[in-house]
């Protein structure tokens, strides 16, 4: 009797320290989402919120948990001052069990320091900075980096019999990572890098670069740039009549590329995680509902957020009924073979980096065609 009473007293004393769920079933589960809803990046935040609402409504309708899940959206403008303040605000709210966001790597890292210290799981849909997941075991991301994409493109080229490659990339931190990750994997597979060229951001004159790399007689050209530069590059390649096949980073997957480059874009190989025209039923369902509900086309950013929210909801279901910050973190780390619209996703439990299936595409007759 005495022991039981002491046990009860101990439980009562400890109760306020434990997470709210440990004592009684919560009436709802809260998730925080910090994102830029105003300011220069608001177009991305808008897409994230649209996708998050879609994922959340479908989840709550499904009745997989006896209590509703709610998302608290807080605007940060992806500004460092606001990102950190909002992170503190989310940490203060004991009901919030996990956080999504931010948009930019910089704001995600600054907020991430707060989450690391407080023990709050954080899943960013877009932070691709190499240091982001290294902050602490509480950080996750749902976007693949060049460290993941580069080796897969190298493998693809090997399968197609490419031995000699020339690489052209934009001169910034991302472009550097395109070249280093690809080159390492390609050389390890016995390939040869015959030329590497960086161009300064804003430069659209590629004829000198093209002439020089053509002289090195590569089997293929790999380009790491954004679609505006890519369109200029592909047009000029056609004008110079260089027939070397071109492989491109996933950043060139954008319908505008074909519009701008016209016939120059024919035959380009590229990989992507999200393809709006994919015939897969769950992707089609997502694209159609997004279009119907928000009157605009979803893109890679909207899809990244949609999957991030669903991955987090799955982790919460697995943690149920003991939905604490620590449990949600552990369950997030166990994410395996999640069938998302951006491909089948698995989180590495140690590095917390995502692995996704990359779809292979080719531009044929002005269309992005999925290769099987």
């Amino acid at each position: 009797m005495t022991t039981t009473r002491r046990g009860l007293l101990a439980t009562a004393a400890l109760a306020p320290l434990a997470a709210p769920v440990a004592t009684a079933q919560p009436r709802r589960i809260l998730i925080g989402y910090q994102l830029p809803l105003t300011g220069e990046f608001s177009q991305y935040g808008e897409r994230f919120r649209n996708s998050a609402l879609m994922a959340l409504d479908a989840f709550n309708r499904s009745g997989r948990l006896p209590v509703p899940v709610e998302i608290v959206f807080e605007d940060t403008r992806s500004d460092p001052r606001e990102a950190v303040a909002v992170a503190r605000k989310f940490v203060d709210n004991r009901e919030i069990v996990a956080v999504l966001g931010d948009f930019s790597s910089s704001a995600s890292i600054q907020a991430g320091r707060v989450y690391a210290e407080a023990g709050m799981p954080q899943l960013s849909q877009t932070a691709s900075h190499p240091d982001f997941v290294k902050i602490s075991p509480w950080q996750f991301r749902n976007i693949t980096t060049q460290a993941y994409e580069g080796p897969r493109v190298a493998e693809w080229m090997r399968e197609n019999g490419v031995r000699r490659v020339a690489v052209v990339a934009i001169q910034n931190d991302w472009g550097q990572s395109v070249v280093s990750n690809f080159a390492e994997a390609f050389r390890a597979g016995g390939g040869e890098m015959v030329a590497t060229q960086f161009f300064n951001p804003g430069n659209r004159e590629f004829r000198a670069i093209l002439t020089e790399i053509a002289r090195a007689r590569p089997d293929a050209i790999y380009i790491g740039m954004f679609y505006e530069d890519g369109a200029a590059f592909l047009q000029q390649r056609r004008q110079l009549n260089i027939r070397t096949p071109v492989y491109a980073t996933s950043s060139l997957y954008e319908p505008k590329l074909v519009e701008l480059a016209g016939a120059g874009a024919e035959g380009v190989f590229l990989s992507t995680t999200f393809m709006a025209t994919s015939p897969e039923p769950h992707v089609r369902a997502y694209v159609e509902e997004y279009r119907r509900r928000f009157g605009s086309e979803p893109n890679m950013f909207s899809a990244q957020a949609f999957d991030a929210v669903n991955i987090l909801l799955e982790a919460i279901v697995r943690a149920w009924p003991e939905v604490t910050r620590a449990r949600v973190r552990d369950e997030l780390a166990k994410t395996r073979d999640f069938p998302g619209v951006t491909g089948v996703t698995t989180f590495d439990p140690e590095t917390r980096e995502p692995a996704k299936t990359l779809a292979r595409m080719r531009i044929e007759n002005g269309q992005f065609v999925l290769l099987r």
């Binding site: 809803l37 105003t38 300011g39 807080e74 605007d75 403008r77 460092p80 001052r81 606001e82 950190v84 303040a85 503190r88 605000k89 940490v91 203060d92 910089s106 890292i109 600054q110 320091r113 707060v114 407080a118 900075h129 190499p130 240091d131 902050i135 910034n172 931190d173």
Partner: protein, 331 residues
């Protein structure tokens, strides 16, 4: 009597009422807002000295804030210095750059000086961005340790707050002493008419350089505090828009007024947070409030000169109306 009451009131609020209230609320969010507000108070006070008191419109203040932040980041992550050393070092490095920049630019007058500081501020930003081997460029510098000066662990919310509050109080004292002295009066003489001041035998260039050194020293300290409390710095945090934000604090609070600088900083940091409830239009609302402030209070909340008057003077005599028949501000 008033001479004793005001500092006592500031002291009581800064070290009594505020920390007690914040601790009682137990909210990391409110502590963070207080920290950021005080850091920006240091920045706006330092800019007040240059722009409000000495009358030099500077558009590159964020660069000195950035130099301070990067000095603290590099010294603490690569050389293992603690905050007791990085904070003064950040002030000194920033002041050194301030003097180096002041030497050639102080001979410029009016709008030319403003444009020169704008250009130099952007140069410092571009250097932080592109000197990859030293600053890590767009990757930024992470893992900056929290505030632990001389082995005292002040990384708790209260400890961090108290250190920042102490430094802000110190900055307030320095700026107040400089501005309210014969020295400050000579600076005001520069603001009103630097040619006349020169003719009176005041060492105009030396005074301007000294003011710049004090102000950039304080901006550097603010940068170090930002770096240690945020843990990660990125060149994008010290862009032109930050300079404009600090300038807006000074103008809304009132040019030349020390309480104005503090109220301006508090207003522009806390208002966007306080207005979170109204959702997406909050930034618009902040803009509107600033606009109304300038419209109805052309001298700012506490100012001694109007912002429009400063701009007029910066743009030269062509814009200057006759002071007798032309009311200042709007109408």
């Amino acid at each position: 009597m008033r001479g004793v009451l005001a500092p006592l009131a500031v002291f009581a609020v800064l070290f009594g009422v505020l920390p007690a209230g914040l601790s009682a609320a137990g909210s990391g969010y409110l502590f963070r807002l207080a920290d950021v507000t005080l850091i920006f108070c240091i920045l706006s006070l330092s800019m007040q000295l240059i722009t409000g008191v000495a009358g030099l419109l500077t558009l590159g203040h964020a660069a000195f804030y950035g130099i301070g932040a990067y000095t603290a980041a590099i010294l603490s992550t690569r050389l293992g210095f603690d905050a007791g050393l990085t904070i003064p070092a950040s002030g000194l490095v920033s002041a050194l750059f301030g003097v180096l920049i002041a030497l050639p630019t102080m001979r410029l007058v009016s709008i030319y000086f403003a444009v020169a500081t704008l250009g130099l501020g952007e140069m410092i930003y571009v250097t932080l961005l592109n000197w990859v081997s030293f600053t890590r460029g767009p990757l930024g510098i992470g893992d900056i340790p929290p505030l632990r000066p001389f082995g005292f662990d002040l990384s708790s919310p209260l400890g961090t707050y108290l250190l920042i509050a102490a430094l802000a109080a110190l900055a307030l004292l320095v700026v107040h002493r400089v501005a309210h002295s014969y020295y400050g009066n000579t600076l005001r003489a520069l603001r009103e008419d630097d040619q006349c001041a020169d003719a009176m035998g005041l060492p105009v260039v030396r005074l301007k350089i000294e003011t710049f050194a004090i102000a950039t020293f304080l901006a550097g300290i603010a940068g170090a505090l930002w770096a240690h409390t945020t843990g990660y710095v990125n060149p994008a945090d010290f862009r032109f828009a930050e300079s404009i934000l600090i300038l807006a604090m000074v103008v809304v609070g009132g040019l030349g007024s020390i309480p104005g600088a503090i109220v301006g900083a508090a207003l522009l940091i806390l208002l966007p947070e306080a207005l979170r409830a109204i959702g997406r239009v909050r930034i618009l609302a902040v803009g509107l409030i600033m606009f109304l402030c300038i419209l109805f209070l052309p001298k700012g909340l506490f100012g001694e000169v109007t912002a429009l008057d400063l701009v007029r003077r910066q743009f030269g005599a062509a814009w200057r109306g006759s002071p007798t028949d032309r009311p200042l501000g709007w109408r």
